[in-house]
Every structure is written in structure tokens, then in C-alpha cells.
């Protein structure tokens, strides 16, 4: 009968374990480290591998324990110090991280990684000038390490020197022409600075050299779209989807370009991604685009019989509340309390900061309507139904949740004929290139009536400006007329 025994030596096991940790193969590294530990006494090298392994598995506390005892036994071990600096940084102990990194720099002044760790800690401590100095030395020490360049670029951007920030990255492209991450970092910086022409140029250069991934094409599409070059953006998004087919955000944009079969609503992942990435600048962005819906909702509500009679309407459900722009616009009317629902946690954080909502719930609005047991006298949905094609399900859900006589106020974008005068989509709704749905007026009318509502008021406002032109929309106030049963 074949039997099998350990014949490898400790050094071989230890080295292979370290290699596997570097490769991120923790499941393979762990047993080899355990075998090495069983065969040899504790050592700083084994401690370092153990700590990196634990950190790689997310067990930061365990990594810290290993490092603390390792450093107690070997206080000048640069590897242990650097590892603890990194983990302390990740755990939010910036001062501790800076101390360990500084110790490592003292022990080995030529170690660029130690300087990079120190620079990263300084950056987050707000000591930007020192961060820049450390990171410059780190980059000088290892010009090909893209992570150092990205950190230096971030530090320079924070120091108010965006040109130098971009130059660090474009120099990185020259030094490491085959690196996709450095090219992407440069393109992203351009997009953040709204320098879309430069972003497209860098992305096109990356594409023509074949040094591009899904992210490169995605950012290229974004930049082209921002420049109004929608057909080229659609090609870029299609290429992005080939390289990142799991990305719901890109998939939705490709569907909206007509290159894939239609879907009835935008995927949750898309909406969450778009708005999470957008939350910090959302209000300013919408205001700059002339977003007029919250104000229009306010004027509709001012004609509500209860408000006219000086009475309170009662609780309000704000579907797709985003950063809370509607509550901001109508919060002074006799309404409330407000409950907001949105898919994007970062949007909800912004809404919470406004202090206008009694409750904020993260989730899909259709799912929320199905779960919610409350009946509301007023539900609003501003710039939300443009993420749904077919509206029957959402109207049915709202009908369920409105009190008899309750109001639902919502906006949609109006479907327009294309260059050839053809109405796109299925005649009722169409997915547009920007990833939003537009709806036909007759469809809204039919769907609303079929769901048991009466239209109280229909306005045709310009809902925002896009590429210098007004986007026409519909704003409706509808009333629930059917009774239960």
C-alpha cells in the first residue's frame, strides 16, 4: 500500500509559502506555512509570512498580534515594521503606521517601500508636503512601481498641483509602457479634472498599443459621451463589455446603444454604481444641469387641497430620494415625516446629512414597495422612473401603498423621434444612449389609468439641460381612485 511522507525541507516550504502569499493564493500558502512552522522554531521570516497571510485573509487583528510579537523579538526587522505600518494604516491607526514606517526608513534608508508607506500615512494624516517628499523619494527609488506613482499623484493633487499629479502618471507611462494600471490612473485623473479630450487621447493611445482593459474602454466611453460623441462612446462601451462582461454598469450602457437585446429596467448594480460614484457631486451636478423637477413638484403640491386648506398632508414616501433634493425643495410645506428609499448607500449618506428624513432605507424601490406595509397619502419619485422601461409593476406597487385619494407625483423623460422621424423602442418606451429610459405620453396615460389612478395634472417641463439642449419631460400628479377589494 502506497504511503506518503513529508520530504521537503523547511526552507523550501517557507519560500514557497512566501511566494504563494505574494500570488494571493492564501489557501495554498497556509498549510505550507503550518508545515514549516511544525518543522522549525519561530523566526522573524516565518512571523512575517504568517502576518501577511493573516492580512491577506482579512484577519487584521491576528496579523497585528503576530507582528507585535515578531517585532518584540526583532525590533529592527524592516519587513515586520513595513508590514505593521501597512496594517496599521488599513486599520486606521495612521500615527502608528507612520511610526513603524519611519522606523523602517531609519533602519534601511534606501528602502523605497518604507518611504512609500511613510508617505501614504503622511498623506492621510493631512501632512501633504511631507507625503509628497516621501513619495517622491519612493518613486525615485523604484520608478517602475506604479502604486508609488499613484500615491504621489494623489498627494500632488491634494497639494493643489494637478499638472504635476498628471505628469507623475504620464512619466510612469513612459517608464512602464506596458502597464495598464498607470494608463488607467492617468485617464481617470483626466476624467476627474473633466479634461475629457486628454482622457480620450490617453485611452486611444492605450487602445492602439493594446495596453488596455475593460476599465480603459469604459473611461474612454465616459469621456467620449461627455464630449457628445455618442456613437464612438457606444463602440468603446462594447469593447469594455467584451473585457468586463460581468459589469452591469457597462452592460446597461451597451444595451442602451442598441448592440444587445433590450431589458425592461436598468439593473440595480448599474444604478448603485452610477449613483454611488456620483453621490459627492450629485447636487452640484444636477443643479449645474438645470435640474428643475424638485421645484416643479413644489408648485404642484402647493395646489394640493389640504395645503390650500392649511392642513398637513402627512407622511411622505420619497422613492429614489438620492441626496434628498426633493425633501430640500418641499421640506418647508406642511408635510412629513419623510421616508426616503434609494439603492445607493453613498447617496443615502448625503441625504442623511441633510437631516430632513425620519427614515432612510437602502434598497430597490419595487422591492421596497412590496415589503412596505404602510399606506401613504403622498408618494413622490423625481427622476426615478427613467430607470424603468415598463412601468406597470411600479404603478401597481404604488397603487397598493397609497391611501385612497393619495397622490403620486413623478417625472419621466419624454420619448422623441430619431433623426429619421422614427419613434425608437417599442413605441411605449425606449432605452436611450445615456442609459435612461424615455416614455411616450400615451403610454404613461394608459398605464396610469389601467393601474387605477386619475391624472390630476400633467406638465411638460424641460427637466434638465444636456449637451446644451433641454431634455423634455413629463411631470404628473395622479390620484388613487380605486378602493381595495
Amino acid at each position: 500500500m502506497d504511503t506518503i511522507h513529508v520530504t521537503a525541507d523547511t526552507a523550501a516550504l517557507r519560500n514557497r509559502a512566501a511566494q504563494l502569499v505574494d500570488e494571493g493564493r492564501m489557501d495554498a500558502a497556509r498549510p505550507l506555512l503550518a508545515a514549516a512552522q511544525a518543522l522549525a522554531p519561530p523566526s522573524p521570516d516565518l512571523a512575517l509570512i504568517g502576518a501577511r497571510l493573516a492580512a491577506g485573509e482579512g484577519a487584521l487583528d491576528q496579523a497585528m498580534q503576530t507582528l507585535d510579537s515578531g517585532i518584540a523579538a526583532a525590533p529592527s526587522h524592516v519587513g515586520l515594521r513595513k508590514c505593521r505600518a501597512d496594517i496599521r494604516h488599513r486599520m486606521g491607526d495612521l500615527e502608528g503606521a507612520a511610526r513603524d514606517a519611519a522606523e523602517a526608513v531609519i533602519v534601511d534608508p534606501a528602502d523605497p517601500q518604507a518611504k512609500a508607506l511613510l508617505g501614504a500615512a503622511m498623506l492621510d494624516l493631512g501632512r501633504t508636503a511631507e507625503a509628497v517628499a516621501c513619495l517622491e523619494e519612493a518613486v525615485a527609488g523604484t520608478p517602475t512601481e506604479i502604486g508609488y506613482r499613484e500615491a504621489l499623484s494623489a498627494a500632488l493633487e491634494k497639494a493643489g498641483d494637478p499638472s504635476s499629479a498628471l505628469r507623475v502618471l504620464t512619466d510612469g507611462i513612459a517608464v512602464c509602457p506596458a502597464s495598464v494600471p498607470v494608463r488607467n490612473a492617468a485617464i481617470l485623473l483626466c476624467v476627474r479634472r473633466r479634461d475629457f479630450i486628454q482622457a480620450v487621447r490617453l485611452a486611444e493611445q492605450a487602445r492602439s498599443l493594446g495596453i488596455a482593459d475593460a476599465c480603459t474602454f469604459g473611461m474612454k466611453g465616459h469621456a467620449l459621451s461627455s464630449l457628445g460623441r455618442h456613437d464612438e462612446a457606444a463602440i468603446a462601451y462594447r469593447e469594455a463589455l467584451k473585457l468586463g462582461p460581468e459589469d452591469p454598469y457597462v452592460r446597461h450602457l451597451v444595451v442602451s446603444s442598441g448592440a444587445m437585446p433590450d431589458s425592461k429596467r436598468a439593473p440595480e448594480g448599474y444604478i448603485r454604481t452610477v449613483f454611488d460614484g456620483y453621490a459627492d457631486r450629485f447636487d452640484a451636478h444636477l443643479i449645474s444641469l438645470g435640474y428643475s423637477i424638485p421645484g416643479a413638484i413644489r408648485s404642484v403640491l402647493q395646489a394640493h387641497p389640504k395645503i390650500v386648506a392649511g392642513l398637513s398632508i402627512g407622511p411622505v414616501l420619497d422613492l429614489g430620494c438620492g441626496t434628498g433634493m426633493v425633501a430640500l425643495a418641499i421640506g418647508d410645506l406642511p408635510l412629513g415625516p419623510f421616508t426616503g428609499v434609494d439603492l445607493s448607500p453613498r447617496m443615502l449618506t448625503q441625504a442623511r446629512a441633510k437631516g430632513l428624513y425620519a427614515e432612510l432605507r437602502e434598497g430597490d424601490i419595487i422591492a421596497d414597495l412590496a415589503m412596505d406595509q404602510q399606506r401613504w397619502p403622498l408618494i413622490v419619485a423625481a427622476d426615478v422612473l427613467c430607470y424603468f422601461g415598463a412601468l406597470e409593476e411600479i404603478f401597481a406597487g404604488i397603487h397598493q401603498r397609497l391611501e385612497p385619494g393619495g397622490w403620486f407625483i413623478f417625472s419621466v423623460e419624454k420619448i422623441l423621434p430619431d433623426h429619421d422621424g422614427v419613434i425608437p423602442g417599442n413605441g411605449n418606451w425606449a432605452l436611450q444612449r445615456q442609459g435612461r429610459y424615455a416614455h411616450a405620453e400615451h403610454y404613461i396615460y394608459e398605464a396610469v389609468c389601467a393601474a387605477g389612478f386619475r391624472i390630476l395634472r400633467l406638465d411638460r417641463p424641460v427637466i434638465r439641460q444636456e449637451a446644451g439642449a433641454g431634455v423634455p419631460g413629463l411631470l404628473l400628479a395622479i390620484e388613487r381612485i380605486h378602493h381595495d377589494g
Binding site: M1, D2, T3, I4, H5, V6, T7, A8, A12, L13, R16, R25, D27, A28, P31, L32, A34, A35, Q37, A38, L39, R207, S208, G210, A212, F217, E239, L241, K242, L243, G244, P245, E246, R251, G258, A259, M260, P261, S263
Partner: protein, 757 residues
């Protein structure tokens, strides 16, 4: 002077050390000088037996047994001698005599049970072993054999318990832990056993056997990547052991980590150089890496050293055709068939080599395909209960070992992505899945379900497809590497369709209902050459999805070079002697022209030299032919920047290669014939609006090459706009293709509904 006085080792000690030959002399001497002690006689018998004289050994054993009729030992030794000589019936009888003398003798209980298992009497074996385990509860082998018996009696849970007990007694024994890993999923205890093994590895970090068992269990549970981790740990812990490396290589090969598999098998071949199985596996992996010349050399050596074997000959046939030796390859495939006429593998080898040979007719190929279909195993299956509503949404299964960056992938994925998701729910039944491959990821994203079928035999695959209610099964593998089309003989779905993937010609498979094609591939009148009904798509039968990393098209190189460069980037299997003759004629008629031949196999210098010699024998000097070997895909595409005109091989034309050349701005001159594989380029060129590059004869092909080479202005103009032309053509129009494919699938389903009603 010192005298080295050491006692001679005793014969018993020599026996214990396995030094049987050395033990013979002292034992024979002892007997000769009158030591008639039964123990001495028996020891001599054992030594004689092991040293090779089993006749003398057994006579001695029988003499001892006669002298001491109550002693079980000589009968046991006799039984063991008979068993090791393969005389199982006599051995069984002898073991029964041992148990008559001593019903508690564990060796006899275990060995007899083993023989009973071999002749399929597991119940009796189980009863003997239960007795044995009661008598000798510390005997690990008894528990292991009990596990085997219990498994054979259909009690996998009890079998697992027995294997686990054996492991507990002998944790370092490979067989016990591997048996447990193998039976645990059948017992419904896969996860529990995995948890147990995981804890065991933590408690005993210096036990490679447990890691190995854990790895193989993870593999059975479909957790490949973790399986590889565990198996690699075992190989690191015990770098000199063969079994861990062998198991690791197998899982790596099945996971499409072919380079790592090759490295493991190379190491294994060095450690175990006379093992023909290891060398055959190594050659098979080398072929997947397109290192056909190396594979062929290994396989030829294996045949020389170990004689012909069907599996080895089949691999050899495939390796031989891939270095451009079509006739020789077909002869080898026929040898394999002669060796074993019922072997599916041998028939497959012939089906896979015949299409490359010049002069193979459609009827001859169909006949070979039908012969292969005839030997496929078929198991009666219950009728389908799929609802025969012609208009309902359908479940479409894709069966393939190449849903990744592979011609199958590049030519089908866009069509699958653009199928109407409300009408077609796609399930991928993937063999050799490559999880990180960008095209594999596209299939995964487009499919509702992704099922890895490597671990499934044909019966399990059939159940997996039928349980999922697949309405239309599309085979994308044929008889190619890792393909599972043979399972279609059991009917995986009510409608079965052959599409891309070793779609050299009709599948010949009686159960394949339809063949996806187009009007260029199979014009009217070609129907008799196909066993399936032809399902002609409105445009081409495939949709090319160009890679995002393709370099830009460059200007016609002839303008700067001052001479025309022809090129062919196809597999060498397609380059027949007649093709070489034809190209040589073209080069004679266009005196300054050059020819670039680029393909994986030309990385091998002797192979490349062989081609140069072939051209030299036809009067074409080496400086006009440029053989080029492997490169990355982007570089491969980029090298079309050096080519003005592609010359298609025949009878097996380019497929994906033609599409790639078009994308890079280079048109292909093609000569379609009768078989399906000969008409791919004609389809793609016509679909892209370039039907005027399709010729009807070798003479026409030569004339066209000469004429086109003389008109550089037209070539340059065509090239400059070709990518955009192809992008806008039906060849790359994925939404249009998705509609066509959907319509074809719907038609096939409606016909099925109509036929059944």
C-alpha cells in the same frame, strides 16, 4: 592485519528485508544438511516463490501442509502464491481452506474478500470483512476493503465510515484517503467529509496524504481552484512522490491550466520515465499547447517501447496531421481502428484527420462520421416531457470544451449574447472551463446557468441536461479535444443541433437533428452529404467578435516593400502537398513575391525546415518563404501588417483565421470544395461582401493570386476601408445575427412540435 568478522545475516532476516534471492542459498543448505523443520521448509518455499520458482515453492508449501494439517500458514502462503500468479479461482479455494483451519485469520479474510469483490460478489465479501474488522479492529486494510465492499453493495454512507476508520488507523496511506474522497459525494457527505479533512490538515500539517484527499474531494465537488491549491500543497510537502504530481497534473489539464499541467507532467515523466500512461498524457497536453512535433516524438517513442495502443495511436494520428503529414496520420488512425474496431476514440481520430487530406469527398467523410456514430455507446432514455408549445420561451444548452478564447468562442459568443433573453434561456455545459478567460466570462455573463461537466460521465451529463429541461442542445465540440458530442447519442434534449467546434462536416450522428449552416457553406443540392437537416441562417452561419486588442490596420506593405507578400496563418494540418505545389506555382508566376507561413507548429525548427525543403524541391528558394512560429494573439494579428494577400489552404479552409485577416485589412483568396470545412472562407468572404475573392478551381485560384498581386492600387484601397466594411457587414453585426440565430432555433423547435403532434 585485521579480520572483519561479522555474522552472516540469518535467512529469516533476509526474507524480512525482501532479499529473497540471497536467502535461497542458506535455506537450501539448511534443508540439504537435514534441517527438516517445517518453518525452514516454509521459509524456503517463500524465498523460492518470490525468487521466481513458484512450482517448487508450491510443492514445498503443500508438503508442509501435509505434515502439519492443522497449521494455516502453509495454506495461506500457497493461496498468496496462487493469487500473485493470477490464478484467482485456485487462490480463492486455498483461502477458504485457510479459513476452515483458522476462521479468524485476517489476511485470509481480507484477501478472499478482495477476490470476491473482483468477481462481483460484494455481499459475501462484506460479511467476511465485517468479521475481520471485529476480529482485528486495528487492521486498516480490513476497514478499507470493507469500504470497497460496502460501496459495491450500494451503501456509500457506510463505505465512507469504513474508509474514514482506515484513514484514522493509517493517515499516511494514499488509497484510504482517496477512497473516502471518492465516495463522500455519493454518500451525500461531500461537504462534511471536506470539513473533516480540513480540520485534519490543520491538526496534522505534516501529512501530505490528507491534503491529497482533500484536493481530490474538492475536485469532485467542482471546486477546482481550491483543489489545485490542496494538491499543490501535497506536491510541495512530498516533492519526490509520484501520485500527488499525477493527480495535480490531471486537475490542471482539466482546468485548462495547460502550461502548468505540462510542467507537472514533464517533471513526472522525468521521475517515472518508463510509464507509458504518463508519457501519453504529457504528449496530449503538449498537443493542447500546439507543440505537436514534441508530442509526436514522445508518442512514436512510446509506440516503439511499449507497442501500439489505441489511445497512443489516436494521439499520434492527431499529432501527425498537425505537423502536416495528412496521409501518414490517416494511416495511423486506420491502424488504431484495426487494433480495436469498436473503439470510439479510433473512429474519432479518423474523423478528425480525414477532412485535412486532399481528395476526401463529402460522401467519404459522411461515411466515416456515420461509422463513428455507430460505435457510440447508447443507453435507453425515458421520453422527454418538455412542453411542446411552439412559441414558449426555450431553454438552450451549449455543450462544449471550448467556450473561451478559441475559434468557437470568437465565432459564437456575440451571437449568444444577442439572443433575445426573453425567448431563450442559455445554459452552458462546459468541459475544460477556463474561468478567467475573457470570452469564457462573456458566456458566463450571457448564460443563466454555467455547469462544469468534466466530472460527469456521459450518463451523468445526460441527466444534467435532461434535469434542466433543455429544449435545444447545441453541440460546439464535435469529436475535438475535450468534446462531449458522443453524449448526444443519448439525446440530451428533444432538439439537437450541430454548430461550430470541429464542424468539419456533417456529424454523422443519428441523433443530431439539425446542422447550422448558411447558403455559402451548403448551397442547394448539398443535402445528401449531411445526415442532419440543414438549418440555413439568413446571413453567415457565425458572427465574428473582433478582439478589442487588435492593432490598427496599416498601409498595404507592398507599397513600401516593392513586392507582394502572400501569407497564410493557418494550422499546418491544412497545408497539403497540393497546396504547397499551388503556392509554388504562384510564386513562380509572381517572381518577386514572398510568402509568410505563420502558425504554432513552425516554432519547431525541424518542422519549419521541412517546409522550406518542400518549397525548395519545387524550385522556390528559402529567402522567399518565411516560416514564423507562435506569438501572442495581438502580435499574431499585428503580423497581418506584413501581408498583402492571404492564400487560403484547401481542402480545409481557414475559419477564424480568415475573419482575423479581414479585420486586419487583408482579404483571402479561397477555393471551396465539397466538404463543410472547405467552405468556411467562402462563407466569411461572401458575408463580408467579398464574394469576388472566391474561386472555383486551382487554376482560377492561381490566376486570381497573380491578377490581384498585380493591382496594388485596388488592394490598397480595399485594405484602407476593409475594417469598417467588415464591422458594418453581417459578419460582425451581432444584433442582426442574434435575431437570425433566434429565428433558426425557433424554426427547429416549431418543426419538432409539429412533428410530435
Amino acid at each position: 592485519m585485521t579480520v572483519d568478522v561479522r555474522p552472516l545475516p540469518s535467512p529469516v532476516a533476509l526474507l524480512a528485508e525482501g532479499r529473497f534471492q540471497e536467502a535461497l542459498a542458506p535455506l537450501r543448505l539448511a534443508l540439504a544438511v537435514g534441517d527438516a523443520c517445517p518453518a525452514t521448509m516454509l521459509n524456503l518455499a517463500i524465498a523460492e516463490d518470490r525468487a521466481g520458482d513458484s512450482g517448487r515453492a508450491r510443492r514445498l508449501m503443500q508438503q508442509v501442509a501435509v505434515r502439519l494439517p492443522d497449521w494455516d500458514e502453509p495454506v495461506l502462503r500457497l493461496a498468496e502464491s496462487l493469487r500473485s500468479a493470477g490464478d484467482n479461482a485456485a487462490a480463492e479455494e486455498a483461502y477458504r481452506q485457510v479459513l476452515d483451519l483458522n476462521p479468524s485469520r485476517p489476511e485470509a479474510l481480507i484477501a478472499l474478500a478482495g477476490l470476491l469483490l473482483m468477481r462481483r460478489s460484494p455481499e459475501e465479501a462484506r460479511d467476511l470483512l465485517l468479521r475481520c474488522c471485529g476480529i482485528a479492529p486495528d487492521n486498516a486494510e480490513a476497514w478499507n476493503t470493507l469500504g470497497l465492499a460496502l460501496r459495491a453493495t450500494g451503501a456509500p454512507n457506510l463505505a465512507l465510515t469504513a474508509f474514514v476508520t482506515a484513514q484514522g488507523l493509517r493517515p499516511d496511506c494514499l488509497e484510504y484517503v482517496l477512497n473516502g474522497a471518492d465516495v463522500a459525494p455519493d454518500a451525500g457527505e461531500g461537504d462534511a467529509e471536506l470539513a473533516r479533512l480540513t480540520v485534519a490538515t490543520e491538526q496534522n500539517p505534516l501529512c501530505p496524504a490528507i491534503q491529497l484527499g482533500r484536493g481530490m474531494l474538492l475536485e469532485r465537488l467542482g471546486r477546482r481552484s481550491e483543489a489545485i491549491d490542496a494538491l499543490e500543497v501535497a506536491t510541495e510537502l512530498a516533492p519526490d512522490a509520484l501520485v500527488p504530481l499525477q493527480l495535480l497534473a490531471g486537475v490542471l489539464a482539466r482546468s485548462s491550466r495547460v502550461r502548468q499541467a505540462e510542467a507537472a507532467l514533464r517533471r513526472l515523466s522525468a521521475m517515472d520515465p518508463d510509464n507509458p500512461q504518463v508519457r501519453n498524457d504529457h504528449a496530449a497536453v503538449l498537443m493542447r499547447l500546439h507543440r505537436h512535433a514534441e508530442a509526436r516524438a514522445i508518442l512514436l517513442d512510446v509506440v516503439d517501447s511499449h507497442g501500439p495502443h489505441t489511445a497512443v495511436l489516436c494521439n499520434l494520428a492527431n499529432a501527425t496531421v498537425c505537423v502536416g503529414l495528412q496521409e501518414e496520420a490517416i494511416d495511423i488512425a486506420r491502424r488504431a481502428i484495426d487494433l480495436d474496431p469498436d473503439a470510439v476514440l479510433a473512429r474519432r481520430a479518423l474523423c478528425n484527420t480525414l477532412p485535412y487530406r486532399d481528395g476526401t469527398t463529402g460522401a467519404a467523410l459522411l461515411s466515416a462520421m456515420r461509422d463513428c456514430s455507430a460505435v457510440l455507446p447508447r443507453t435507453p432514455q425515458p421520453p422527454f416531457n418538455n412542453t411542446l408549445d411552439p412559441d414558449r420561451p426555450l431553454v438552450v444548452g451549449l455543450l462544449s470544451g471550448t467556450l473561451r478564447s478559441h475559434p468557437v468562442g470568437w465565432l459564437t459568443v456575440a451571437g449568444i449574447e444577442t439572443l433575445d433573453p426573453d425567448q431563450f434561456r442559455v445554459i452552458c455545459l462546459a468541459q475544460n472551463a477556463a474561468p478567467e478567460d475573457p470570452i469564457a466570462r462573456r458566456y458566463r455573463a450571457a448564460a443563466r446557468e454555467w455547469v462544469e461537466v468534466d466530472g460527469m460521465n456521459d450518463a451523468a451529463l445526460t441527466s444534467a441536461a435532461r434535469d434542466r429541461g433543455i429544449d435545444i442542445l447545441i453541440d460546439l465540440g464535435g469529436y475535438g479535444d475535450a468534446a462531449r458530442m458522443p453524449a448526444c447519442a443519448n439525446r440530451l434534449a428533444p432538439v439537437q443541433i450541430k454548430w461550430v467546434g470541429m464542424q468539419a462536416h456533417s456529424s454523422g450522428l443519428a441523433e443530431m437533428d439539425w446542422f447550422l449552416t448558411d447558403r455559402w457553406e451548403t448551397p442547394d443540392g448539398f443535402e445528401p452529404l449531411y445526415s442532419e437537416k440543414l438549418l440555413r441562417l439568413s446571413d453567415g452561419y457565425v458572427c465574428y467578435s473582433p478582439p478589442p486588442h487588435a492593432p490598427d490596420v496599416v498601409e498595404l506593405p507592398a507599397l513600401a516593400n516593392g513586392f507582394v507578400t502572400f501569407g497564410c496563418f493557418n494550422n499546418l494540418a491544412k497545408i497539403t502537398p497540393r497546396v504547397i505545389e499551388t503556392w509554388a506555382t504562384i510564386l513562380h508566376r509572381v517572381p518577386n513575391a514572398r510568402l509568410i507561413l505563420k502558425t504554432h507548429q513552425l516554432t519547431d525548427a525541424p518542422t519549419a525546415d521541412g517546409f522550406l525543403a518542400d518549397f525548395a524541391s519545387l524550385g522556390i528558394s528559402g529567402d522567399r518563404i518565411e516560416p514564423r512560429g507562435s506569438s501572442g494573439h495581438r502580435a499574431f494579428m499585428g503580423e497581418y501588417g506584413h501581408v498583402d494577400i492571404v492564400l487560403d489552404p484547401f481542402p480545409y479552409s481557414g475559419g477564424l483565421t480568415t475573419c482575423e485577416a479581414l479585420w486586419m485589412g487583408v482579404p483571402t483568396i479561397t477555393l471551396p470544395g465539397e466538404i463543410f470545412a472547405s467552405r468556411h472562407s467562402a462563407s466569411h468572404m461572401s458575408n463580408a461582401g467579398l464574394a469576388d475573392w472566391v474561386t472555383g478551381s486551382v487554376e482560377g485560384y492561381i490566376d486570381m493570386a497573380v491578377t490581384r498581386a498585380a493591382d496594388l492600387d485596388s488592394l490598397a484601397k480595399l485594405r484602407a476601408g476593409l475594417r469598417e466594411q467588415v464591422r458594418r457587414s453581417p459578419l460582425c453585426d451581432a444584433p442582426r445575427f442574434g435575431l437570425n440565430l433566434g429565428a433558426a432555433l425557433r424554426h427547429a423547435w416549431r418543426v419538432r412540435c409539429a412533428e410530435t403532434s
